[in-house]
Symmetry: C2
Subunit: 273 residues, 2 copies
DNA sequence: CTAATAGTGTCTATTAGACAGTATGTT
DNA sequence: AACATACTGTCTAATAGACACTATTAG
Protein backbone atom coordinates (compact mmCIF):
# COMPACT_ATOMS: atom_id res chain seq x y z
CA UNK A 1 0.00 0.00 0.00
CA UNK A 2 1.18 3.51 -0.69
CA UNK A 3 0.05 6.46 1.34
CA UNK A 4 0.22 9.99 0.05
CA UNK A 5 0.63 11.75 3.38
CA UNK A 6 1.49 11.08 6.97
CA UNK A 7 -2.05 11.91 8.06
CA UNK A 8 -3.48 9.41 5.63
CA UNK A 9 -1.07 6.74 6.81
CA UNK A 10 -1.83 7.30 10.47
CA UNK A 11 -5.55 7.19 9.85
CA UNK A 12 -5.20 3.85 8.12
CA UNK A 13 -2.82 2.47 10.73
CA UNK A 14 -4.24 -0.50 12.59
CA UNK A 15 -2.48 -1.33 15.86
CA UNK A 16 -4.36 -4.60 16.24
CA UNK A 17 -2.33 -6.34 13.58
CA UNK A 18 0.42 -6.94 16.16
CA UNK A 19 -0.24 -8.96 19.28
CA UNK A 20 0.16 -6.50 22.12
CA UNK A 21 1.70 -7.02 25.51
CA UNK A 22 2.08 -5.42 28.92
CA UNK A 23 4.96 -3.47 30.37
CA UNK A 24 5.53 -3.26 34.09
CA UNK A 25 8.15 -1.56 36.19
CA UNK A 26 9.96 -2.87 39.26
CA UNK A 27 11.74 -0.54 41.63
CA UNK A 28 14.74 -1.41 43.70
CA UNK A 29 14.44 1.08 46.54
CA UNK A 30 17.69 1.25 48.48
CA UNK A 31 18.59 3.13 51.61
CA UNK A 32 20.97 2.95 54.55
CA UNK A 33 19.76 1.61 57.87
CA UNK A 34 21.59 1.97 61.16
CA UNK A 35 21.78 -0.56 63.92
CA UNK A 36 22.57 0.50 67.45
CA UNK A 37 25.27 -1.49 69.18
CA UNK A 38 25.08 -2.45 72.87
CA UNK A 39 28.45 -0.87 73.70
CA UNK A 40 27.89 2.85 74.51
CA UNK A 41 31.28 3.73 72.98
CA UNK A 42 30.63 2.20 69.59
CA UNK A 43 29.05 4.03 66.68
CA UNK A 44 26.00 2.65 64.93
CA UNK A 45 26.63 -0.06 62.39
CA UNK A 46 25.25 0.83 58.95
CA UNK A 47 23.63 -1.56 56.49
CA UNK A 48 22.31 -1.51 52.96
CA UNK A 49 18.57 -1.81 53.09
CA UNK A 50 15.97 -2.68 50.45
CA UNK A 51 12.20 -2.22 50.51
CA UNK A 52 10.22 -5.37 49.77
CA UNK A 53 6.47 -5.94 49.60
CA UNK A 54 4.62 -9.12 50.43
CA UNK A 55 2.49 -10.42 47.57
CA UNK A 56 -1.12 -11.29 48.36
CA UNK A 57 -2.07 -12.69 44.96
CA UNK A 58 -0.93 -15.34 42.59
CA UNK A 59 1.49 -15.69 40.99
CA UNK A 60 4.11 -15.94 43.74
CA UNK A 61 1.48 -15.55 46.45
CA UNK A 62 3.05 -14.84 49.87
CA UNK A 63 6.50 -14.27 48.42
CA UNK A 64 8.38 -10.98 48.76
CA UNK A 65 8.83 -8.77 45.75
CA UNK A 66 10.04 -5.35 44.69
CA UNK A 67 7.40 -2.62 44.56
CA UNK A 68 6.13 -2.28 41.03
CA UNK A 69 3.17 -2.14 38.74
CA UNK A 70 1.87 -1.72 35.25
CA UNK A 71 2.95 1.17 33.06
CA UNK A 72 -0.22 2.99 32.12
CA UNK A 73 -1.08 3.54 28.47
CA UNK A 74 -0.89 7.31 28.79
CA UNK A 75 2.04 7.50 31.17
CA UNK A 76 5.70 8.09 30.26
CA UNK A 77 7.78 5.03 31.10
CA UNK A 78 9.79 6.85 33.76
CA UNK A 79 6.68 8.30 35.35
CA UNK A 80 5.53 4.83 36.37
CA UNK A 81 8.32 4.23 38.92
CA UNK A 82 7.89 7.80 40.16
CA UNK A 83 4.19 7.17 40.74
CA UNK A 84 4.75 3.84 42.47
CA UNK A 85 7.47 5.31 44.64
CA UNK A 86 5.13 8.06 45.74
CA UNK A 87 2.38 5.56 46.49
CA UNK A 88 4.75 3.38 48.47
CA UNK A 89 6.83 5.93 50.37
CA UNK A 90 5.11 9.29 49.89
CA UNK A 91 8.43 10.59 48.54
CA UNK A 92 8.93 12.78 45.49
CA UNK A 93 11.95 14.16 43.66
CA UNK A 94 14.19 11.32 44.61
CA UNK A 95 17.07 9.79 42.67
CA UNK A 96 15.83 7.27 40.12
CA UNK A 97 17.86 5.44 37.52
CA UNK A 98 16.83 2.89 34.93
CA UNK A 99 18.58 -0.42 35.48
CA UNK A 100 17.63 -2.99 32.90
CA UNK A 101 14.67 -4.32 30.96
CA UNK A 102 13.87 -7.98 31.44
CA UNK A 103 11.68 -9.66 28.89
CA UNK A 104 11.88 -13.43 28.78
CA UNK A 105 8.68 -14.91 27.40
CA UNK A 106 7.95 -16.89 30.54
CA UNK A 107 8.98 -14.47 33.23
CA UNK A 108 5.38 -13.99 34.29
CA UNK A 109 2.90 -16.89 34.19
CA UNK A 110 -0.11 -14.64 33.64
CA UNK A 111 0.76 -13.29 30.23
CA UNK A 112 3.56 -11.76 28.23
CA UNK A 113 5.03 -9.03 30.39
CA UNK A 114 8.20 -7.05 29.80
CA UNK A 115 9.51 -5.25 32.83
CA UNK A 116 11.80 -2.25 33.05
CA UNK A 117 13.55 -2.06 36.40
CA UNK A 118 14.64 1.11 38.16
CA UNK A 119 16.81 1.82 41.15
CA UNK A 120 15.82 4.50 43.65
CA UNK A 121 18.17 5.80 46.32
CA UNK A 122 16.61 7.41 49.35
CA UNK A 123 17.64 8.98 52.59
CA UNK A 124 15.55 7.23 55.24
CA UNK A 125 15.44 10.32 57.43
CA UNK A 126 13.23 11.98 54.80
CA UNK A 127 10.50 9.36 55.21
CA UNK A 128 7.53 11.12 56.71
CA UNK A 129 4.88 8.42 56.64
CA UNK A 130 4.89 4.87 57.88
CA UNK A 131 5.03 2.05 55.39
CA UNK A 132 1.96 0.11 54.39
CA UNK A 133 1.49 -3.04 56.42
CA UNK A 134 2.70 -5.39 53.70
CA UNK A 135 5.97 -3.53 53.07
CA UNK A 136 9.16 -4.01 55.01
CA UNK A 137 12.81 -2.89 54.96
CA UNK A 138 15.28 -5.76 54.70
CA UNK A 139 18.91 -5.28 55.60
CA UNK A 140 21.04 -7.01 53.02
CA UNK A 141 24.56 -8.35 53.01
CA UNK A 142 26.21 -10.09 50.13
CA UNK A 143 29.16 -12.28 49.51
CA UNK A 144 30.92 -12.85 46.23
CA UNK A 145 33.18 -15.83 45.71
CA UNK A 146 34.28 -16.04 42.12
CA UNK A 147 31.11 -16.20 40.05
CA UNK A 148 28.90 -17.25 43.01
CA UNK A 149 26.94 -14.55 44.77
CA UNK A 150 24.92 -15.02 47.94
CA UNK A 151 22.62 -12.27 49.15
CA UNK A 152 21.18 -12.40 52.66
CA UNK A 153 17.99 -10.58 53.61
CA UNK A 154 16.89 -9.78 57.16
CA UNK A 155 14.01 -7.60 58.31
CA UNK A 156 14.34 -8.33 62.02
CA UNK A 157 11.59 -10.91 62.15
CA UNK A 158 12.48 -13.10 59.20
CA UNK A 159 15.49 -13.76 57.04
CA UNK A 160 16.34 -15.65 53.88
CA UNK A 161 19.08 -15.97 51.30
CA UNK A 162 19.28 -16.16 47.54
CA UNK A 163 22.14 -17.56 45.51
CA UNK A 164 23.09 -16.56 42.01
CA UNK A 165 25.75 -17.32 39.51
CA UNK A 166 27.10 -14.52 37.38
CA UNK A 167 29.09 -15.30 34.30
CA UNK A 168 29.82 -14.12 30.82
CA UNK A 169 29.31 -17.44 29.03
CA UNK A 170 30.74 -16.06 25.80
CA UNK A 171 31.81 -12.75 24.39
CA UNK A 172 28.52 -11.97 22.69
CA UNK A 173 26.87 -10.66 25.82
CA UNK A 174 27.62 -7.99 28.35
CA UNK A 175 27.99 -8.45 32.07
CA UNK A 176 24.31 -8.79 32.94
CA UNK A 177 24.08 -12.57 32.70
CA UNK A 178 22.74 -13.78 36.01
CA UNK A 179 21.44 -17.23 36.78
CA UNK A 180 19.33 -17.76 39.88
CA UNK A 181 20.53 -20.92 41.60
CA UNK A 182 18.57 -20.75 44.83
CA UNK A 183 15.54 -18.63 45.61
CA UNK A 184 12.57 -19.65 47.75
CA UNK A 185 11.40 -16.24 48.85
CA UNK A 186 11.54 -13.61 46.12
CA UNK A 187 9.01 -13.35 43.29
CA UNK A 188 9.69 -13.19 39.55
CA UNK A 189 13.22 -12.45 38.39
CA UNK A 190 13.64 -9.90 41.17
CA UNK A 191 16.89 -11.43 42.42
CA UNK A 192 18.40 -10.38 39.09
CA UNK A 193 17.14 -6.84 39.52
CA UNK A 194 18.63 -6.61 43.00
CA UNK A 195 22.01 -7.89 41.87
CA UNK A 196 22.01 -5.60 38.83
CA UNK A 197 21.28 -2.65 41.10
CA UNK A 198 23.94 -3.49 43.66
CA UNK A 199 26.49 -3.86 40.87
CA UNK A 200 25.45 -0.61 39.23
CA UNK A 201 25.69 1.22 42.54
CA UNK A 202 29.10 -0.25 43.28
CA UNK A 203 30.41 0.80 39.88
CA UNK A 204 28.97 4.29 39.97
CA UNK A 205 30.02 5.11 43.48
CA UNK A 206 33.59 5.64 42.31
CA UNK A 207 32.97 8.10 39.52
CA UNK A 208 29.78 9.90 40.53
CA UNK A 209 28.30 11.60 43.59
CA UNK A 210 25.49 9.05 43.69
CA UNK A 211 25.94 8.14 47.39
CA UNK A 212 24.86 11.54 48.58
CA UNK A 213 21.33 10.64 47.57
CA UNK A 214 21.35 8.20 50.48
CA UNK A 215 22.87 10.58 53.01
CA UNK A 216 21.09 12.97 55.36
CA UNK A 217 21.91 16.67 55.09
CA UNK A 218 24.58 16.53 57.77
CA UNK A 219 26.85 13.54 58.24
CA UNK A 220 30.25 12.67 59.62
CA UNK A 221 33.04 11.43 57.38
CA UNK A 222 33.02 8.22 59.41
CA UNK A 223 29.38 7.64 58.48
CA UNK A 224 30.03 8.49 54.84
CA UNK A 225 33.00 6.15 54.77
CA UNK A 226 30.88 3.36 56.25
CA UNK A 227 28.30 3.87 53.48
CA UNK A 228 31.04 3.55 50.87
CA UNK A 229 32.27 0.43 52.65
CA UNK A 230 28.80 -1.10 52.67
CA UNK A 231 28.37 -0.41 48.96
CA UNK A 232 31.85 -1.56 47.95
CA UNK A 233 31.72 -4.44 50.41
CA UNK A 234 35.22 -3.81 51.70
CA UNK A 235 37.10 -1.75 54.29
CA UNK A 236 38.70 1.50 53.18
CA UNK A 237 41.71 3.23 54.68
CA UNK A 238 40.87 6.46 56.49
CA UNK A 239 43.50 8.82 55.03
CA UNK A 240 42.89 7.70 51.46
CA UNK A 241 39.13 8.04 51.86
CA UNK A 242 39.43 11.56 53.27
CA UNK A 243 41.75 12.64 50.45
CA UNK A 244 39.32 11.43 47.80
CA UNK A 245 36.12 12.68 49.42
CA UNK A 246 37.48 16.09 50.44
CA UNK A 247 36.48 17.99 47.26
CA UNK A 248 32.93 16.62 47.42
CA UNK A 249 32.01 17.80 50.92
CA UNK A 250 31.86 21.03 52.89
CA UNK A 251 32.99 21.15 56.49
CA UNK A 252 30.42 22.77 58.77
CA UNK A 253 30.86 24.16 62.28
CA UNK A 254 28.46 21.58 63.68
CA UNK A 255 29.74 18.61 65.65
CA UNK A 256 28.37 15.17 66.52
CA UNK A 257 28.94 14.60 70.23
CA UNK A 258 27.72 12.02 72.72
CA UNK A 259 29.63 8.91 71.60
CA UNK A 260 32.16 7.67 74.11
CA UNK A 261 34.97 9.13 72.05
CA UNK A 262 36.24 12.20 70.24
CA UNK A 263 33.38 14.16 68.62
CA UNK A 264 33.40 14.41 64.87
CA UNK A 265 32.77 17.31 62.53
CA UNK A 266 29.58 17.25 60.48
CA UNK A 267 29.88 17.74 56.74
CA UNK A 268 27.45 18.64 53.96
CA UNK A 269 27.46 17.62 50.32
CA UNK A 270 29.15 20.17 48.08
CA UNK A 271 26.51 20.48 45.39
CA UNK A 272 28.09 21.55 42.10
CA UNK A 273 25.04 23.46 40.85
CA UNK B 1 -11.63 -11.91 45.17
CA UNK B 2 -9.81 -14.75 46.80
CA UNK B 3 -8.38 -17.64 44.87
CA UNK B 4 -7.61 -20.97 46.47
CA UNK B 5 -4.81 -22.00 44.15
CA UNK B 6 -2.43 -20.59 41.59
CA UNK B 7 -4.12 -22.61 38.83
CA UNK B 8 -7.49 -21.17 39.73
CA UNK B 9 -6.09 -17.65 39.76
CA UNK B 10 -4.43 -17.99 36.40
CA UNK B 11 -7.53 -19.43 34.84
CA UNK B 12 -9.55 -16.45 36.05
CA UNK B 13 -6.89 -13.92 35.04
CA UNK B 14 -8.07 -11.54 32.35
CA UNK B 15 -5.28 -9.71 30.51
CA UNK B 16 -7.70 -7.41 28.75
CA UNK B 17 -8.38 -5.32 31.84
CA UNK B 18 -5.16 -3.36 31.14
CA UNK B 19 -4.71 -1.40 27.96
CA UNK B 20 -1.89 -3.13 26.17
CA UNK B 21 0.94 -1.64 24.17
CA UNK B 22 3.72 -2.53 21.78
CA UNK B 23 7.39 -3.05 22.43
CA UNK B 24 9.97 -2.56 19.72
CA UNK B 25 13.72 -2.83 19.66
CA UNK B 26 16.24 -0.57 17.97
CA UNK B 27 19.78 -1.72 17.31
CA UNK B 28 22.80 0.51 17.17
CA UNK B 29 25.12 -1.53 14.96
CA UNK B 30 28.66 -0.19 15.20
CA UNK B 31 31.79 -1.17 13.35
CA UNK B 32 35.10 0.28 12.24
CA UNK B 33 35.54 1.46 8.67
CA UNK B 34 38.86 2.26 7.04
CA UNK B 35 39.56 4.98 4.55
CA UNK B 36 42.54 4.76 2.23
CA UNK B 37 44.71 7.84 2.08
CA UNK B 38 46.25 9.09 -1.16
CA UNK B 39 49.78 9.06 0.26
CA UNK B 40 51.27 5.57 -0.27
CA UNK B 41 53.26 5.90 2.95
CA UNK B 42 50.30 6.60 5.21
CA UNK B 43 48.23 3.97 6.93
CA UNK B 44 44.47 3.83 6.49
CA UNK B 45 42.46 6.23 8.56
CA UNK B 46 39.88 4.44 10.75
CA UNK B 47 36.39 5.69 11.55
CA UNK B 48 33.48 4.69 13.73
CA UNK B 49 30.68 3.53 11.51
CA UNK B 50 26.96 2.97 12.12
CA UNK B 51 24.40 1.09 10.03
CA UNK B 52 21.31 3.12 9.14
CA UNK B 53 18.24 2.17 7.13
CA UNK B 54 16.10 4.46 5.02
CA UNK B 55 12.43 4.47 6.02
CA UNK B 56 9.90 4.00 3.25
CA UNK B 57 6.75 4.45 5.34
CA UNK B 58 5.24 7.00 7.61
CA UNK B 59 5.99 8.07 10.20
CA UNK B 60 9.37 9.66 9.38
CA UNK B 61 9.10 8.63 5.73
CA UNK B 62 12.44 9.01 3.88
CA UNK B 63 14.39 9.65 7.09
CA UNK B 64 17.23 7.42 8.24
CA UNK B 65 16.74 5.19 11.26
CA UNK B 66 18.36 2.41 13.22
CA UNK B 67 17.41 -1.13 12.21
CA UNK B 68 14.63 -2.35 14.46
CA UNK B 69 11.24 -3.90 14.70
CA UNK B 70 8.50 -5.21 16.91
CA UNK B 71 9.20 -7.71 19.67
CA UNK B 72 7.04 -10.71 18.90
CA UNK B 73 4.60 -11.99 21.50
CA UNK B 74 6.36 -15.34 21.79
CA UNK B 75 9.93 -14.09 21.49
CA UNK B 76 12.33 -13.32 24.34
CA UNK B 77 13.17 -9.63 24.43
CA UNK B 78 16.83 -10.17 23.59
CA UNK B 79 15.99 -12.51 20.73
CA UNK B 80 14.35 -9.66 18.81
CA UNK B 81 17.60 -7.73 18.21
CA UNK B 82 19.35 -10.99 17.39
CA UNK B 83 16.73 -11.77 14.78
CA UNK B 84 16.79 -8.30 13.24
CA UNK B 85 20.57 -8.33 13.15
CA UNK B 86 20.53 -11.61 11.29
CA UNK B 87 17.95 -10.29 8.84
CA UNK B 88 19.95 -7.14 8.26
CA UNK B 89 23.53 -8.42 8.16
CA UNK B 90 23.30 -12.21 8.02
CA UNK B 91 25.49 -12.29 11.15
CA UNK B 92 25.01 -14.47 14.19
CA UNK B 93 26.76 -14.79 17.56
CA UNK B 94 27.83 -11.21 17.68
CA UNK B 95 28.27 -8.93 20.67
CA UNK B 96 24.97 -7.44 21.78
CA UNK B 97 24.32 -5.30 24.82
CA UNK B 98 21.14 -3.69 26.07
CA UNK B 99 21.43 0.08 26.17
CA UNK B 100 18.32 1.75 27.44
CA UNK B 101 14.55 1.57 27.23
CA UNK B 102 12.81 4.68 25.94
CA UNK B 103 9.13 5.05 26.61
CA UNK B 104 7.77 8.56 26.34
CA UNK B 105 4.08 8.51 25.52
CA UNK B 106 4.48 10.41 22.27
CA UNK B 107 7.69 8.94 20.93
CA UNK B 108 5.80 7.23 18.10
CA UNK B 109 2.81 8.93 16.45
CA UNK B 110 1.16 5.63 15.52
CA UNK B 111 0.43 4.32 18.99
CA UNK B 112 1.98 3.76 22.38
CA UNK B 113 5.32 2.08 21.78
CA UNK B 114 8.08 1.41 24.26
CA UNK B 115 11.44 0.66 22.71
CA UNK B 116 14.39 -1.18 24.17
CA UNK B 117 17.61 -0.27 22.42
CA UNK B 118 20.62 -2.51 21.96
CA UNK B 119 24.16 -1.95 20.80
CA UNK B 120 25.85 -4.48 18.53
CA UNK B 121 29.57 -4.42 17.80
CA UNK B 122 30.73 -6.12 14.66
CA UNK B 123 33.90 -6.74 12.75
CA UNK B 124 33.16 -5.63 9.21
CA UNK B 125 35.49 -8.21 7.70
CA UNK B 126 33.05 -10.90 8.84
CA UNK B 127 30.25 -9.53 6.67
CA UNK B 128 29.60 -12.10 3.99
CA UNK B 129 26.55 -10.68 2.24
CA UNK B 130 25.86 -7.29 0.77
CA UNK B 131 23.50 -4.95 2.56
CA UNK B 132 19.95 -4.51 1.44
CA UNK B 133 19.50 -1.57 -0.90
CA UNK B 134 17.96 0.72 1.71
CA UNK B 135 20.74 0.20 4.29
CA UNK B 136 23.99 2.13 4.42
CA UNK B 137 27.05 2.51 6.64
CA UNK B 138 27.62 6.05 7.87
CA UNK B 139 30.99 7.13 9.20
CA UNK B 140 30.44 9.22 12.29
CA UNK B 141 32.51 11.80 14.09
CA UNK B 142 31.43 13.69 17.15
CA UNK B 143 32.42 16.75 19.04
CA UNK B 144 31.66 17.57 22.64
CA UNK B 145 31.88 21.08 23.94
CA UNK B 146 30.60 21.26 27.47
CA UNK B 147 27.06 19.92 27.38
CA UNK B 148 26.68 20.39 23.61
CA UNK B 149 27.27 17.38 21.40
CA UNK B 150 27.36 17.42 17.61
CA UNK B 151 27.40 14.15 15.69
CA UNK B 152 28.25 14.14 11.99
CA UNK B 153 27.14 11.37 9.65
CA UNK B 154 28.62 10.65 6.23
CA UNK B 155 27.98 7.67 3.96
CA UNK B 156 30.02 8.93 0.98
CA UNK B 157 27.06 10.25 -0.97
CA UNK B 158 25.24 12.23 1.67
CA UNK B 159 25.99 13.72 5.06
CA UNK B 160 24.12 15.39 7.88
CA UNK B 161 24.57 16.43 11.49
CA UNK B 162 22.54 16.22 14.66
CA UNK B 163 22.98 18.35 17.75
CA UNK B 164 22.12 17.38 21.27
CA UNK B 165 22.40 18.78 24.72
CA UNK B 166 23.29 16.48 27.56
CA UNK B 167 22.73 17.58 31.10
CA UNK B 168 21.77 16.37 34.50
CA UNK B 169 19.10 18.97 35.25
CA UNK B 170 18.91 17.86 38.88
CA UNK B 171 20.23 15.11 41.03
CA UNK B 172 17.18 12.90 40.77
CA UNK B 173 18.20 11.45 37.42
CA UNK B 174 21.19 9.61 36.09
CA UNK B 175 23.35 10.65 33.16
CA UNK B 176 20.97 9.60 30.38
CA UNK B 177 19.22 12.94 29.97
CA UNK B 178 19.61 13.95 26.36
CA UNK B 179 17.75 16.70 24.57
CA UNK B 180 17.70 16.76 20.79
CA UNK B 181 18.31 20.33 19.63
CA UNK B 182 18.75 19.82 15.90
CA UNK B 183 17.78 16.80 13.85
CA UNK B 184 16.39 16.83 10.32
CA UNK B 185 17.47 13.40 9.20
CA UNK B 186 17.06 10.72 11.85
CA UNK B 187 13.73 9.16 12.79
CA UNK B 188 12.20 8.81 16.28
CA UNK B 189 14.45 9.35 19.29
CA UNK B 190 17.29 7.52 17.56
CA UNK B 191 19.79 10.35 18.15
CA UNK B 192 19.45 9.56 21.86
CA UNK B 193 20.13 5.88 21.24
CA UNK B 194 23.26 6.68 19.25
CA UNK B 195 24.61 9.03 21.89
CA UNK B 196 23.80 6.56 24.68
CA UNK B 197 25.68 3.86 22.78
CA UNK B 198 28.72 5.98 22.05
CA UNK B 199 28.90 6.97 25.71
CA UNK B 200 28.50 3.40 26.88
CA UNK B 201 31.21 2.23 24.53
CA UNK B 202 33.57 4.98 25.63
CA UNK B 203 33.05 4.12 29.27
CA UNK B 204 33.39 0.38 28.86
CA UNK B 205 36.44 0.48 26.64
CA UNK B 206 38.63 1.25 29.65
CA UNK B 207 37.57 -1.57 31.91
CA UNK B 208 36.48 -4.35 29.53
CA UNK B 209 37.76 -6.10 26.41
CA UNK B 210 34.74 -4.87 24.44
CA UNK B 211 36.78 -3.40 21.55
CA UNK B 212 37.99 -6.78 20.38
CA UNK B 213 34.47 -7.46 19.14
CA UNK B 214 35.17 -4.86 16.46
CA UNK B 215 38.63 -6.12 15.52
CA UNK B 216 39.56 -8.69 12.89
CA UNK B 217 41.45 -11.79 14.03
CA UNK B 218 44.88 -10.28 13.29
CA UNK B 219 45.62 -6.62 13.81
CA UNK B 220 48.57 -4.31 14.46
CA UNK B 221 48.87 -2.37 17.69
CA UNK B 222 48.72 0.79 15.61
CA UNK B 223 45.31 -0.21 14.29
CA UNK B 224 44.09 -1.21 17.74
CA UNK B 225 45.30 2.09 19.15
CA UNK B 226 43.48 3.99 16.41
CA UNK B 227 40.25 2.18 17.31
CA UNK B 228 40.68 3.21 20.93
CA UNK B 229 41.36 6.76 19.76
CA UNK B 230 38.23 6.80 17.63
CA UNK B 231 36.12 5.55 20.53
CA UNK B 232 37.66 7.83 23.15
CA UNK B 233 37.82 10.73 20.68
CA UNK B 234 41.35 11.66 21.66
CA UNK B 235 44.97 10.84 20.84
CA UNK B 236 46.78 8.36 23.04
CA UNK B 237 50.49 8.14 23.72
CA UNK B 238 52.14 5.09 22.17
CA UNK B 239 54.19 3.81 25.12
CA UNK B 240 51.30 4.14 27.57
CA UNK B 241 48.92 2.40 25.20
CA UNK B 242 51.30 -0.50 24.66
CA UNK B 243 51.85 -0.91 28.39
CA UNK B 244 48.13 -1.10 29.06
CA UNK B 245 47.17 -3.29 26.12
CA UNK B 246 50.06 -5.73 26.46
CA UNK B 247 48.30 -8.26 28.76
CA UNK B 248 45.25 -8.39 26.47
CA UNK B 249 46.99 -9.39 23.25
CA UNK B 250 49.23 -12.15 21.94
CA UNK B 251 52.12 -11.37 19.63
CA UNK B 252 52.15 -13.58 16.52
CA UNK B 253 54.96 -14.24 14.07
CA UNK B 254 52.98 -12.63 11.25
CA UNK B 255 53.87 -9.18 9.99
CA UNK B 256 52.00 -6.48 8.09
CA UNK B 257 54.27 -5.26 5.30
CA UNK B 258 53.72 -3.07 2.28
CA UNK B 259 53.31 0.38 3.83
CA UNK B 260 56.06 2.84 3.03
CA UNK B 261 57.58 2.32 6.46
CA UNK B 262 58.70 -0.21 9.05
CA UNK B 263 56.45 -3.30 9.04
CA UNK B 264 54.47 -4.01 12.16
CA UNK B 265 53.83 -7.19 14.08
CA UNK B 266 50.32 -8.65 13.96
CA UNK B 267 48.65 -9.45 17.26
CA UNK B 268 45.66 -11.55 18.30
CA UNK B 269 43.24 -11.07 21.18
CA UNK B 270 44.23 -13.02 24.27
CA UNK B 271 40.93 -14.68 25.07
CA UNK B 272 40.67 -15.47 28.75
CA UNK B 273 38.45 -18.54 28.30
C1' DC C 1 42.41 6.05 83.05
C1' DT C 2 40.35 3.46 79.17
C1' DA C 3 38.13 2.25 75.08
C1' DA C 4 36.61 3.87 71.14
C1' DT C 5 36.45 6.82 67.13
C1' DA C 6 38.41 11.24 64.84
C1' DG C 7 41.76 13.01 62.31
C1' DT C 8 46.72 13.88 60.28
C1' DG C 9 51.65 13.28 58.52
C1' DT C 10 54.48 10.90 55.74
C1' DC C 11 56.71 7.27 53.43
C1' DT C 12 56.34 3.91 49.62
C1' DA C 13 54.51 1.57 45.67
C1' DT C 14 52.07 1.80 41.57
C1' DT C 15 50.38 3.90 37.63
C1' DA C 16 49.90 7.51 34.16
C1' DG C 17 51.96 11.12 31.25
C1' DA C 18 55.59 12.92 28.47
C1' DC C 19 59.25 12.98 25.40
C1' DA C 20 63.17 11.61 23.06
C1' DG C 21 65.28 8.31 20.78
C1' DT C 22 66.17 4.10 17.67
C1' DA C 23 64.43 0.76 13.93
C1' DT C 24 63.05 -0.48 9.34
C1' DG C 25 60.24 -0.87 5.51
C1' DT C 26 58.84 1.49 0.40
C1' DT C 27 59.51 4.58 -3.26
C1' DA D 1 67.88 9.43 1.02
C1' DA D 2 63.42 10.59 2.86
C1' DC D 3 59.31 9.78 4.95
C1' DA D 4 56.15 7.55 7.68
C1' DT D 5 55.15 4.46 11.02
C1' DA D 6 56.94 0.88 14.58
C1' DC D 7 58.68 0.32 18.79
C1' DT D 8 61.45 1.22 23.25
C1' DG D 9 63.86 3.53 27.31
C1' DT D 10 63.48 6.49 30.84
C1' DC D 11 62.35 10.40 33.50
C1' DT D 12 58.61 12.76 36.01
C1' DA D 13 54.07 13.60 37.92
C1' DA D 14 50.14 12.02 40.02
C1' DT D 15 47.69 8.81 42.61
C1' DA D 16 46.82 4.93 45.72
C1' DG D 17 48.13 2.10 49.68
C1' DA D 18 50.01 1.55 54.15
C1' DC D 19 51.05 2.60 58.71
C1' DA D 20 52.04 5.14 62.63
C1' DC D 21 50.89 8.72 65.24
C1' DT D 22 48.13 12.42 67.87
C1' DA D 23 43.43 14.20 69.57
C1' DT D 24 39.35 13.99 72.26
C1' DT D 25 35.36 12.49 74.38
C1' DA D 26 31.89 9.61 77.99
C1' DG D 27 31.95 6.82 81.54
Amino acid sequence: MNYQSEEEFLAAYDPSKFKLLSVTTDILILSISSEEVDNYRKTDRLHMSVLLVKRHDYPFKDKWCLPGGFVQYDEDLEDAPKRILREETNLQDIYLEQLYTFGDVNRDPRMRIISTSYMALIDKSKLNTSLSSDASWFDITWLEEGSKVTINFDNGSSSFAIKMRKDLKDHTTDRYQFYIEHNDDLAFDHPKVILAGLERLRNKVNYTDIVFNMMPEYFTLGELQQVYEVILNKKLLDPAFRRIIEPKVIKTDKMRTGGGHRPSVLFKYRNKD
